[in-house]
Symmetry: C2
Subunit: 279 residues, 2 copies
Amino acid sequence: MRIGIVGLGLMGGSIAAALKPHHLIHAFDIDPRAATFALAKGIIDHRAETPEALFAACDVIYLCLYPRAVAAFFEQHVGALRPGTICVDIAGVKAAIIDGIRAHLRKDTQFVFSHPVAGREKIGVAFADPNIFKGANYIVVPTPENTPEALETVSSLAREMGFGNVTDLSAEEHDAIIAYTSQLTHVISLSIVDSDDGQFDTGRFIGDSYRDLTRIAMINAPLWSELFLENKKNLLSRIDAFRTSLDAFEAMLRNDDLDGLQQKMTEAKRRRSLLEKGK
Amino acid sequence: MRIGIVGLGLMGGSIAAALKPHHLIHAFDIDPRAATFALAKGIIDHRAETPEALFAACDVIYLCLYPRAVAAFFEQHVGALRPGTICVDIAGVKAAIIDGIRAHLRKDTQFVFSHPVAGREKIGVAFADPNIFKGANYIVVPTPENTPEALETVSSLAREMGFGNVTDLSAEEHDAIIAYTSQLTHVISLSIVDSDDGQFDTGRFIGDSYRDLTRIAMINAPLWSELFLENKKNLLSRIDAFRTSLDAFEAMLRNDDLDGLQQKMTEAKRRRSLLEKGK
Protein backbone atom coordinates (compact mmCIF):
# COMPACT_ATOMS: atom_id res chain seq x y z
CA MET A 1 0.00 0.00 0.00
CA ARG A 2 0.95 3.64 -0.31
CA ILE A 3 1.18 4.94 3.25
CA GLY A 4 1.23 8.63 4.12
CA ILE A 5 2.65 10.04 7.35
CA VAL A 6 1.75 13.57 8.38
CA GLY A 7 4.00 14.67 11.23
CA LEU A 8 7.37 12.95 11.36
CA GLY A 9 8.06 12.92 15.07
CA LEU A 10 8.91 9.95 17.23
CA MET A 11 5.58 8.24 16.54
CA GLY A 12 5.22 9.14 12.86
CA GLY A 13 8.81 8.09 12.27
CA SER A 14 8.36 4.81 14.13
CA ILE A 15 5.20 3.97 12.15
CA ALA A 16 7.04 4.78 8.92
CA ALA A 17 9.97 2.57 9.90
CA ALA A 18 7.68 -0.27 10.96
CA LEU A 19 5.70 -0.29 7.68
CA LYS A 20 8.57 0.52 5.30
CA PRO A 21 9.60 -3.10 4.61
CA HIS A 22 6.27 -3.90 2.91
CA HIS A 23 4.85 -0.54 1.84
CA LEU A 24 5.74 2.65 0.04
CA ILE A 25 6.05 5.46 2.59
CA HIS A 26 5.35 9.11 1.81
CA ALA A 27 5.79 11.74 4.50
CA PHE A 28 5.09 15.39 5.18
CA ASP A 29 6.28 17.51 8.08
CA ILE A 30 6.10 21.30 8.50
CA ASP A 31 9.79 21.10 9.34
CA PRO A 32 11.39 19.97 6.04
CA ARG A 33 14.49 18.77 7.93
CA ALA A 34 12.47 15.96 9.56
CA ALA A 35 11.52 14.38 6.21
CA THR A 36 14.97 15.00 4.76
CA PHE A 37 16.51 13.21 7.73
CA ALA A 38 14.01 10.32 7.45
CA LEU A 39 14.69 10.01 3.72
CA ALA A 40 18.44 9.91 4.29
CA LYS A 41 18.00 7.25 6.99
CA GLY A 42 15.79 5.14 4.73
CA ILE A 43 12.79 5.41 7.04
CA ILE A 44 10.59 6.86 4.24
CA ASP A 45 10.52 6.56 0.43
CA HIS A 46 9.26 10.00 -0.55
CA ARG A 47 9.17 13.46 0.97
CA ALA A 48 5.95 15.31 0.06
CA GLU A 49 6.31 19.08 -0.38
CA THR A 50 2.71 19.77 0.71
CA PRO A 51 -0.11 17.92 2.48
CA GLU A 52 -1.99 18.01 -0.86
CA ALA A 53 0.84 16.23 -2.65
CA LEU A 54 0.87 13.59 0.09
CA PHE A 55 -2.92 13.15 0.00
CA ALA A 56 -2.84 12.69 -3.77
CA ALA A 57 -0.32 9.85 -3.49
CA CYS A 58 -1.58 7.69 -0.61
CA ASP A 59 -4.16 5.02 0.29
CA VAL A 60 -3.81 5.23 4.07
CA ILE A 61 -2.70 8.39 5.85
CA TYR A 62 -1.58 8.55 9.48
CA LEU A 63 -2.06 11.95 11.08
CA CYS A 64 0.68 11.95 13.71
CA LEU A 65 -0.06 15.39 15.16
CA TYR A 66 -0.63 16.84 18.61
CA PRO A 67 -4.23 16.21 19.74
CA ARG A 68 -5.43 19.78 19.32
CA ALA A 69 -3.89 20.05 15.84
CA VAL A 70 -5.58 17.01 14.30
CA ALA A 71 -9.04 18.50 13.63
CA ALA A 72 -7.71 21.83 12.37
CA PHE A 73 -5.33 20.07 9.99
CA PHE A 74 -8.05 17.74 8.76
CA GLU A 75 -10.55 20.55 8.22
CA GLN A 76 -8.01 22.52 6.23
CA HIS A 77 -6.95 19.68 3.94
CA VAL A 78 -9.90 17.26 3.74
CA GLY A 79 -10.82 18.56 0.29
CA ALA A 80 -7.59 17.20 -1.16
CA LEU A 81 -8.28 13.57 -0.16
CA ARG A 82 -8.89 11.13 -2.99
CA PRO A 83 -12.11 9.07 -2.71
CA GLY A 84 -11.46 5.82 -0.86
CA THR A 85 -8.59 7.16 1.25
CA ILE A 86 -8.39 6.07 4.88
CA CYS A 87 -7.21 8.66 7.42
CA VAL A 88 -5.99 7.39 10.79
CA ASP A 89 -5.23 9.39 13.92
CA ILE A 90 -2.99 8.13 16.70
CA ALA A 91 -3.77 10.50 19.57
CA GLY A 92 -3.90 9.38 23.21
CA VAL A 93 -7.38 10.86 23.72
CA LYS A 94 -10.36 9.97 21.61
CA ALA A 95 -13.72 11.65 22.43
CA ALA A 96 -12.32 15.18 21.96
CA ILE A 97 -10.62 14.25 18.67
CA ILE A 98 -13.72 12.56 17.28
CA ASP A 99 -15.84 15.57 18.23
CA GLY A 100 -13.45 17.85 16.40
CA ILE A 101 -13.27 15.72 13.24
CA ARG A 102 -16.87 14.59 12.87
CA ALA A 103 -18.23 17.81 11.31
CA HIS A 104 -15.63 17.61 8.54
CA LEU A 105 -15.95 13.95 7.52
CA ARG A 106 -16.46 13.13 3.85
CA LYS A 107 -18.74 10.27 2.86
CA ASP A 108 -16.34 9.01 0.19
CA THR A 109 -13.38 8.67 2.57
CA GLN A 110 -12.83 6.95 5.91
CA PHE A 111 -11.45 8.25 9.19
CA VAL A 112 -10.37 5.57 11.65
CA PHE A 113 -9.59 6.70 15.19
CA SER A 114 -6.88 4.71 16.91
CA HIS A 115 -4.29 4.78 19.67
CA PRO A 116 -1.00 2.89 19.56
CA VAL A 117 -0.22 2.54 23.29
CA ALA A 118 3.53 2.86 22.87
CA GLY A 119 6.15 5.55 22.98
CA ARG A 120 9.43 6.72 24.43
CA GLU A 121 10.44 9.67 26.58
CA LYS A 122 12.11 11.23 23.53
CA ILE A 123 11.09 13.80 20.95
CA GLY A 124 11.67 13.72 17.21
CA VAL A 125 12.19 11.42 14.24
CA ALA A 126 15.84 10.86 15.21
CA PHE A 127 14.53 8.59 17.99
CA ALA A 128 12.09 6.69 15.75
CA ASP A 129 12.24 2.98 16.53
CA PRO A 130 9.79 0.35 15.28
CA ASN A 131 10.77 -1.94 18.16
CA ILE A 132 8.65 0.11 20.58
CA PHE A 133 5.59 -1.49 18.94
CA LYS A 134 6.66 -5.11 19.50
CA GLY A 135 3.97 -6.90 21.48
CA ALA A 136 2.41 -3.57 22.49
CA ASN A 137 -1.29 -2.71 22.70
CA TYR A 138 -3.23 -0.94 19.94
CA ILE A 139 -6.71 0.44 20.39
CA VAL A 140 -9.18 1.10 17.55
CA VAL A 141 -12.23 3.26 18.22
CA PRO A 142 -14.80 2.45 15.52
CA THR A 143 -17.48 5.01 14.64
CA PRO A 144 -20.84 4.33 12.93
CA GLU A 145 -19.40 5.91 9.76
CA ASN A 146 -16.60 3.32 9.50
CA THR A 147 -16.74 0.44 7.02
CA PRO A 148 -15.61 -2.99 8.25
CA GLU A 149 -12.96 -2.93 5.51
CA ALA A 150 -11.41 0.33 6.71
CA LEU A 151 -11.33 -0.93 10.31
CA GLU A 152 -9.77 -4.20 9.20
CA THR A 153 -7.12 -2.37 7.17
CA VAL A 154 -6.08 -0.28 10.18
CA SER A 155 -6.06 -3.27 12.54
CA SER A 156 -4.04 -5.38 10.17
CA LEU A 157 -1.52 -2.56 9.62
CA ALA A 158 -1.17 -2.38 13.41
CA ARG A 159 -0.38 -6.09 13.51
CA GLU A 160 2.14 -5.61 10.71
CA MET A 161 3.81 -2.91 12.81
CA GLY A 162 4.31 -5.53 15.51
CA PHE A 163 1.51 -4.73 17.93
CA GLY A 164 0.46 -7.75 19.99
CA ASN A 165 -3.12 -6.88 20.93
CA VAL A 166 -5.50 -4.87 18.77
CA THR A 167 -8.69 -4.09 20.69
CA ASP A 168 -11.84 -2.17 19.77
CA LEU A 169 -13.22 0.25 22.36
CA SER A 170 -15.76 3.05 22.33
CA ALA A 171 -14.35 6.56 22.70
CA GLU A 172 -15.74 6.78 26.23
CA GLU A 173 -14.19 3.45 27.23
CA HIS A 174 -10.87 4.43 25.67
CA ASP A 175 -10.70 7.73 27.52
CA ALA A 176 -11.71 6.12 30.82
CA ILE A 177 -9.07 3.36 30.83
CA ILE A 178 -6.30 5.46 29.25
CA ALA A 179 -6.80 8.18 31.87
CA TYR A 180 -5.76 5.45 34.32
CA THR A 181 -3.00 3.57 32.50
CA SER A 182 -1.40 6.52 30.76
CA GLN A 183 -2.37 10.03 31.85
CA LEU A 184 -2.49 9.19 35.58
CA THR A 185 0.92 7.53 35.49
CA HIS A 186 2.39 10.65 33.88
CA VAL A 187 0.85 12.99 36.48
CA ILE A 188 2.24 10.76 39.21
CA SER A 189 5.71 10.55 37.72
CA LEU A 190 5.84 14.33 37.38
CA SER A 191 4.61 14.76 40.95
CA ILE A 192 7.33 12.48 42.31
CA VAL A 193 10.04 14.60 40.67
CA ASP A 194 8.25 17.81 41.64
CA SER A 195 8.15 16.76 45.30
CA ASP A 196 11.95 16.45 45.57
CA ASP A 197 12.86 19.05 48.19
CA GLY A 198 16.35 19.41 46.75
CA GLN A 199 18.03 18.80 50.11
CA PHE A 200 20.18 15.98 48.74
CA ASP A 201 22.15 15.19 45.61
CA THR A 202 19.29 12.86 44.70
CA GLY A 203 21.04 11.12 41.79
CA ARG A 204 23.47 9.47 44.23
CA PHE A 205 20.68 7.83 46.20
CA ILE A 206 18.32 6.43 43.60
CA GLY A 207 17.81 2.86 42.47
CA ASP A 208 15.86 1.35 39.60
CA SER A 209 12.56 1.93 41.38
CA TYR A 210 13.04 5.70 41.31
CA ARG A 211 14.49 5.57 37.80
CA ASP A 212 11.53 3.57 36.47
CA LEU A 213 8.89 5.67 38.19
CA THR A 214 10.33 8.99 37.01
CA ARG A 215 11.58 8.19 33.51
CA ILE A 216 8.34 9.45 31.92
CA ALA A 217 8.76 12.74 33.79
CA MET A 218 11.19 13.51 30.95
CA ILE A 219 8.05 14.48 29.15
CA ASN A 220 7.01 16.15 25.91
CA ALA A 221 5.31 19.06 27.70
CA PRO A 222 3.30 20.53 24.78
CA LEU A 223 1.92 17.09 23.90
CA TRP A 224 1.09 15.91 27.39
CA SER A 225 -0.44 19.14 28.64
CA GLU A 226 -2.93 18.74 25.77
CA LEU A 227 -3.53 15.06 26.55
CA PHE A 228 -4.21 15.93 30.20
CA LEU A 229 -6.64 18.73 29.38
CA GLU A 230 -8.46 16.90 26.59
CA ASN A 231 -9.20 14.05 28.99
CA LYS A 232 -9.65 16.20 32.06
CA LYS A 233 -12.84 14.72 33.51
CA ASN A 234 -11.55 11.13 33.42
CA LEU A 235 -8.11 12.09 34.65
CA LEU A 236 -9.49 14.01 37.63
CA SER A 237 -11.58 11.00 38.59
CA ARG A 238 -8.56 8.67 38.33
CA ILE A 239 -6.47 11.02 40.45
CA ASP A 240 -9.21 10.83 43.09
CA ALA A 241 -9.24 7.03 43.02
CA PHE A 242 -5.45 6.92 43.26
CA ARG A 243 -5.50 9.32 46.20
CA THR A 244 -7.99 7.06 47.98
CA SER A 245 -5.61 4.10 47.59
CA LEU A 246 -2.64 6.17 48.74
CA ASP A 247 -4.63 7.33 51.78
CA ALA A 248 -5.40 3.71 52.65
CA PHE A 249 -1.71 2.76 52.63
CA GLU A 250 -0.91 5.88 54.64
CA ALA A 251 -3.52 5.06 57.28
CA MET A 252 -2.10 1.55 57.73
CA LEU A 253 1.37 2.99 58.05
CA ARG A 254 0.19 5.52 60.62
CA ASN A 255 -1.51 2.71 62.59
CA ASP A 256 1.53 0.39 62.44
CA ASP A 257 -0.74 -2.13 60.74
CA LEU A 258 1.86 -4.67 59.59
CA ASP A 259 -0.71 -7.34 58.70
CA GLY A 260 -2.89 -4.89 56.79
CA LEU A 261 0.10 -3.61 54.82
CA GLN A 262 1.25 -7.11 53.94
CA GLN A 263 -2.23 -8.10 52.85
CA LYS A 264 -2.67 -5.03 50.65
CA MET A 265 0.81 -5.52 49.16
CA THR A 266 0.18 -9.17 48.45
CA GLU A 267 -3.06 -8.31 46.68
CA ALA A 268 -1.38 -5.60 44.57
CA LYS A 269 1.39 -8.04 43.69
CA ARG A 270 -1.15 -10.63 42.60
CA ARG A 271 -3.03 -8.17 40.42
CA ARG A 272 0.09 -6.73 38.79
CA SER A 273 1.54 -10.20 38.16
CA LEU A 274 -1.67 -11.28 36.39
CA LEU A 275 -1.59 -8.30 34.02
CA GLU A 276 0.93 -9.65 31.59
CA LYS A 277 0.92 -13.35 32.24
CA GLY A 278 3.23 -15.00 29.78
CA LYS A 279 4.74 -11.77 28.52
CA MET B 1 39.19 -12.28 51.57
CA ARG B 2 36.91 -14.80 53.20
CA ILE B 3 33.41 -13.40 52.76
CA GLY B 4 30.40 -14.68 54.70
CA ILE B 5 26.81 -14.30 53.57
CA VAL B 6 24.00 -14.79 56.08
CA GLY B 7 20.70 -15.01 54.25
CA LEU B 8 20.93 -16.25 50.66
CA GLY B 9 18.07 -14.43 49.04
CA LEU B 10 18.13 -12.21 45.98
CA MET B 11 20.50 -9.72 47.60
CA GLY B 12 22.73 -12.16 49.50
CA GLY B 13 23.02 -14.29 46.37
CA SER B 14 23.85 -11.30 44.18
CA ILE B 15 26.55 -10.10 46.59
CA ALA B 16 28.00 -13.62 46.67
CA ALA B 17 28.02 -13.84 42.88
CA ALA B 18 29.56 -10.36 42.55
CA LEU B 19 32.43 -11.10 44.96
CA LYS B 20 33.02 -14.75 44.04
CA PRO B 21 35.59 -14.10 41.29
CA HIS B 22 38.11 -12.62 43.76
CA HIS B 23 37.09 -13.97 47.15
CA LEU B 24 36.19 -17.15 48.97
CA ILE B 25 32.45 -17.16 49.68
CA HIS B 26 30.87 -18.94 52.65
CA ALA B 27 27.11 -18.83 53.11
CA PHE B 28 24.46 -19.72 55.63
CA ASP B 29 20.70 -19.72 55.21
CA ILE B 30 18.02 -21.16 57.50
CA ASP B 31 16.69 -22.91 54.41
CA PRO B 32 19.47 -25.39 53.52
CA ARG B 33 18.15 -25.63 49.95
CA ALA B 34 19.19 -22.03 49.26
CA ALA B 35 22.87 -22.70 50.00
CA THR B 36 22.77 -26.06 48.25
CA PHE B 37 21.37 -24.38 45.15
CA ALA B 38 23.97 -21.59 45.32
CA LEU B 39 26.77 -24.13 45.74
CA ALA B 40 25.55 -26.10 42.72
CA LYS B 41 25.36 -22.90 40.64
CA GLY B 42 28.87 -21.89 41.67
CA ILE B 43 27.68 -18.70 43.39
CA ILE B 44 29.32 -19.71 46.70
CA ASP B 45 32.33 -21.83 47.67
CA HIS B 46 31.16 -23.27 51.00
CA ARG B 47 27.87 -23.96 52.70
CA ALA B 48 28.09 -23.34 56.46
CA GLU B 49 25.94 -25.63 58.63
CA THR B 50 25.53 -23.02 61.38
CA PRO B 51 26.04 -19.28 61.83
CA GLU B 52 28.85 -20.14 64.24
CA ALA B 53 30.67 -22.18 61.59
CA LEU B 54 30.32 -19.27 59.17
CA PHE B 55 31.52 -16.71 61.73
CA ALA B 56 34.58 -18.83 62.48
CA ALA B 57 35.61 -18.90 58.84
CA CYS B 58 35.14 -15.31 57.59
CA ASP B 59 36.76 -11.87 57.64
CA VAL B 60 33.76 -9.88 56.38
CA ILE B 61 30.18 -11.03 56.97
CA TYR B 62 27.15 -9.60 55.15
CA LEU B 63 23.91 -9.95 57.10
CA CYS B 64 21.33 -10.09 54.30
CA LEU B 65 18.27 -10.39 56.51
CA TYR B 66 14.92 -8.63 56.80
CA PRO B 67 15.30 -5.37 58.74
CA ARG B 68 13.64 -6.56 61.92
CA ALA B 69 15.68 -9.78 61.96
CA VAL B 70 19.13 -8.19 61.82
CA ALA B 71 19.46 -7.10 65.46
CA ALA B 72 17.97 -10.31 66.86
CA PHE B 73 20.30 -12.43 64.76
CA PHE B 74 23.31 -10.33 65.72
CA GLU B 75 22.50 -10.40 69.42
CA GLN B 76 22.13 -14.17 69.33
CA HIS B 77 25.38 -14.89 67.51
CA VAL B 78 27.73 -11.98 68.26
CA GLY B 79 29.66 -14.10 70.75
CA ALA B 80 30.88 -16.38 67.96
CA LEU B 81 32.60 -13.59 65.97
CA ARG B 82 36.36 -13.76 65.79
CA PRO B 83 38.19 -10.56 66.83
CA GLY B 84 38.74 -8.28 63.84
CA THR B 85 35.70 -9.48 61.91
CA ILE B 86 33.66 -6.88 60.03
CA CYS B 87 29.87 -7.33 59.98
CA VAL B 88 27.91 -5.45 57.31
CA ASP B 89 24.18 -4.99 57.05
CA ILE B 90 22.40 -4.10 53.81
CA ALA B 91 18.95 -3.00 54.98
CA GLY B 92 17.01 -0.19 53.32
CA VAL B 93 16.50 1.62 56.64
CA LYS B 94 19.29 2.66 58.94
CA ALA B 95 18.36 4.49 62.18
CA ALA B 96 16.17 1.64 63.42
CA ILE B 97 18.78 -1.00 62.57
CA ILE B 98 21.60 0.92 64.24
CA ASP B 99 19.47 1.43 67.36
CA GLY B 100 18.83 -2.31 67.50
CA ILE B 101 22.47 -3.32 67.02
CA ARG B 102 24.27 -0.72 69.10
CA ALA B 103 23.68 -2.34 72.50
CA HIS B 104 25.27 -5.58 71.29
CA LEU B 105 28.41 -4.24 69.61
CA ARG B 106 31.75 -5.77 70.60
CA LYS B 107 34.83 -3.54 70.80
CA ASP B 108 37.07 -6.08 69.07
CA THR B 109 34.85 -6.37 65.97
CA GLN B 110 33.36 -3.85 63.54
CA PHE B 111 29.79 -3.36 62.35
CA VAL B 112 29.44 -1.27 59.19
CA PHE B 113 25.93 -0.16 58.27
CA SER B 114 25.32 0.10 54.55
CA HIS B 115 22.65 0.11 51.87
CA PRO B 116 23.18 -1.15 48.33
CA VAL B 117 20.46 0.79 46.45
CA ALA B 118 19.72 -2.00 44.01
CA GLY B 119 17.32 -4.88 43.65
CA ARG B 120 14.77 -6.65 41.52
CA GLU B 121 11.07 -7.39 41.92
CA LYS B 122 11.96 -11.04 42.54
CA ILE B 123 12.46 -13.18 45.61
CA GLY B 124 15.14 -15.79 46.22
CA VAL B 125 18.66 -16.83 45.34
CA ALA B 126 17.49 -18.28 42.01
CA PHE B 127 17.16 -14.66 40.79
CA ALA B 128 20.58 -13.58 42.11
CA ASP B 129 22.31 -11.42 39.52
CA PRO B 130 25.48 -9.38 40.10
CA ASN B 131 24.58 -7.17 37.13
CA ILE B 132 21.97 -5.33 39.22
CA PHE B 133 24.89 -3.61 40.99
CA LYS B 134 26.54 -2.23 37.85
CA GLY B 135 26.83 1.55 38.15
CA ALA B 136 24.32 1.54 41.02
CA ASN B 137 24.47 3.61 44.22
CA TYR B 138 25.83 2.32 47.53
CA ILE B 139 25.42 4.16 50.81
CA VAL B 140 27.65 3.68 53.85
CA VAL B 141 26.48 5.00 57.23
CA PRO B 142 29.57 5.39 59.44
CA THR B 143 29.20 5.33 63.23
CA PRO B 144 31.64 6.75 65.79
CA GLU B 145 32.66 3.17 66.61
CA ASN B 146 33.86 2.45 63.05
CA THR B 147 37.55 2.41 62.17
CA PRO B 148 38.56 4.10 58.90
CA GLU B 149 39.95 0.73 57.78
CA ALA B 150 36.64 -1.09 58.24
CA LEU B 151 34.76 1.64 56.36
CA GLU B 152 37.30 1.56 53.55
CA THR B 153 37.05 -2.25 53.31
CA VAL B 154 33.26 -2.10 52.92
CA SER B 155 33.41 0.77 50.39
CA SER B 156 36.03 -0.96 48.32
CA LEU B 157 34.09 -4.24 48.34
CA ALA B 158 31.08 -2.24 47.07
CA ARG B 159 33.18 -0.89 44.19
CA GLU B 160 34.39 -4.43 43.47
CA MET B 161 30.73 -5.53 43.25
CA GLY B 162 30.28 -2.95 40.49
CA PHE B 163 28.64 -0.09 42.33
CA GLY B 164 29.27 3.28 40.66
CA ASN B 165 28.84 5.69 43.57
CA VAL B 166 29.70 4.93 47.16
CA THR B 167 28.52 7.75 49.43
CA ASP B 168 28.69 8.29 53.18
CA LEU B 169 25.55 9.59 54.90
CA SER B 170 24.38 9.84 58.50
CA ALA B 171 21.56 7.49 59.49
CA GLU B 172 19.13 10.42 59.60
CA GLU B 173 20.16 11.62 56.15
CA HIS B 174 19.92 8.10 54.75
CA ASP B 175 16.43 7.53 56.08
CA ALA B 176 15.25 10.94 54.87
CA ILE B 177 16.40 10.59 51.27
CA ILE B 178 15.61 6.87 50.96
CA ALA B 179 12.05 7.47 52.20
CA TYR B 180 11.73 9.61 49.07
CA THR B 181 13.66 7.64 46.43
CA SER B 182 12.70 4.16 47.55
CA GLN B 183 9.88 3.77 50.07
CA LEU B 184 7.69 6.51 48.56
CA THR B 185 8.04 5.08 45.06
CA HIS B 186 6.92 1.68 46.34
CA VAL B 187 3.86 3.11 48.13
CA ILE B 188 2.95 4.96 44.94
CA SER B 189 3.39 1.94 42.70
CA LEU B 190 1.21 -0.15 45.00
CA SER B 191 -1.43 2.59 45.11
CA ILE B 192 -1.59 2.78 41.31
CA VAL B 193 -2.35 -0.94 41.08
CA ASP B 194 -4.69 -0.76 44.07
CA SER B 195 -6.71 2.03 42.43
CA ASP B 196 -7.57 -0.06 39.36
CA ASP B 197 -11.36 -0.29 39.49
CA GLY B 198 -11.33 -3.55 37.53
CA GLN B 199 -13.80 -2.28 34.94
CA PHE B 200 -11.49 -3.15 32.04
CA ASP B 201 -9.11 -5.92 31.02
CA THR B 202 -6.31 -3.54 32.01
CA GLY B 203 -3.48 -5.58 30.50
CA ARG B 204 -4.77 -4.86 26.98
CA PHE B 205 -4.56 -1.11 27.49
CA ILE B 206 -1.20 -0.53 29.14
CA GLY B 207 2.01 0.81 27.68
CA ASP B 208 5.53 1.03 29.05
CA SER B 209 4.62 3.94 31.32
CA TYR B 210 2.15 1.78 33.27
CA ARG B 211 4.50 -1.22 33.15
CA ASP B 212 7.41 0.83 34.52
CA LEU B 213 5.41 2.54 37.24
CA THR B 214 3.86 -0.67 38.55
CA ARG B 215 6.67 -3.21 38.17
CA ILE B 216 7.77 -2.73 41.79
CA ALA B 217 4.20 -3.42 42.93
CA MET B 218 5.27 -7.07 42.43
CA ILE B 219 6.70 -6.61 45.88
CA ASN B 220 8.23 -8.73 48.62
CA ALA B 221 5.44 -7.96 51.12
CA PRO B 222 7.13 -9.16 54.35
CA LEU B 223 10.29 -7.16 53.54
CA TRP B 224 8.65 -3.96 52.39
CA SER B 225 6.03 -3.77 55.12
CA GLU B 226 8.96 -3.74 57.57
CA LEU B 227 10.86 -1.14 55.53
CA PHE B 228 7.78 1.10 55.50
CA LEU B 229 7.15 0.81 59.23
CA GLU B 230 10.80 1.14 60.27
CA ASN B 231 11.00 4.46 58.38
CA LYS B 232 7.47 5.58 59.12
CA LYS B 233 8.07 9.20 60.14
CA ASN B 234 10.12 10.03 57.04
CA LEU B 235 7.82 8.13 54.73
CA LEU B 236 4.72 9.91 56.04
CA SER B 237 6.39 13.24 55.48
CA ARG B 238 7.38 12.28 51.91
CA ILE B 239 3.84 11.11 51.17
CA ASP B 240 2.65 14.55 52.30
CA ALA B 241 5.11 16.34 50.04
CA PHE B 242 4.15 14.14 47.10
CA ARG B 243 0.47 14.81 47.73
CA THR B 244 1.16 18.55 47.67
CA SER B 245 2.77 18.22 44.23
CA LEU B 246 -0.06 16.04 42.97
CA ASP B 247 -2.58 18.60 44.24
CA ALA B 248 -0.76 21.34 42.35
CA PHE B 249 -0.99 19.42 39.06
CA GLU B 250 -4.61 18.65 39.77
CA ALA B 251 -5.45 22.31 40.41
CA MET B 252 -3.87 23.36 37.10
CA LEU B 253 -5.82 20.65 35.33
CA ARG B 254 -9.06 21.76 36.98
CA ASN B 255 -8.35 25.36 35.93
CA ASP B 256 -7.44 24.45 32.33
CA ASP B 257 -4.08 26.06 32.98
CA LEU B 258 -2.20 24.92 29.86
CA ASP B 259 0.73 27.30 30.39
CA GLY B 260 1.07 26.35 34.04
CA LEU B 261 1.03 22.64 33.20
CA GLN B 262 3.64 23.06 30.49
CA GLN B 263 5.87 25.08 32.78
CA LYS B 264 5.66 22.56 35.61
CA MET B 265 6.25 19.67 33.19
CA THR B 266 9.25 21.39 31.64
CA GLU B 267 10.75 21.98 35.08
CA ALA B 268 10.21 18.33 36.11
CA LYS B 269 11.77 17.18 32.84
CA ARG B 270 14.79 19.40 33.46
CA ARG B 271 15.26 18.09 37.00
CA ARG B 272 14.85 14.44 36.04
CA SER B 273 17.19 14.76 33.05
CA LEU B 274 19.91 16.25 35.28
CA LEU B 275 19.74 13.33 37.73
CA GLU B 276 21.81 10.90 35.75
CA LYS B 277 23.70 13.07 33.32
CA GLY B 278 26.04 10.87 31.37
CA LYS B 279 24.57 7.60 32.59
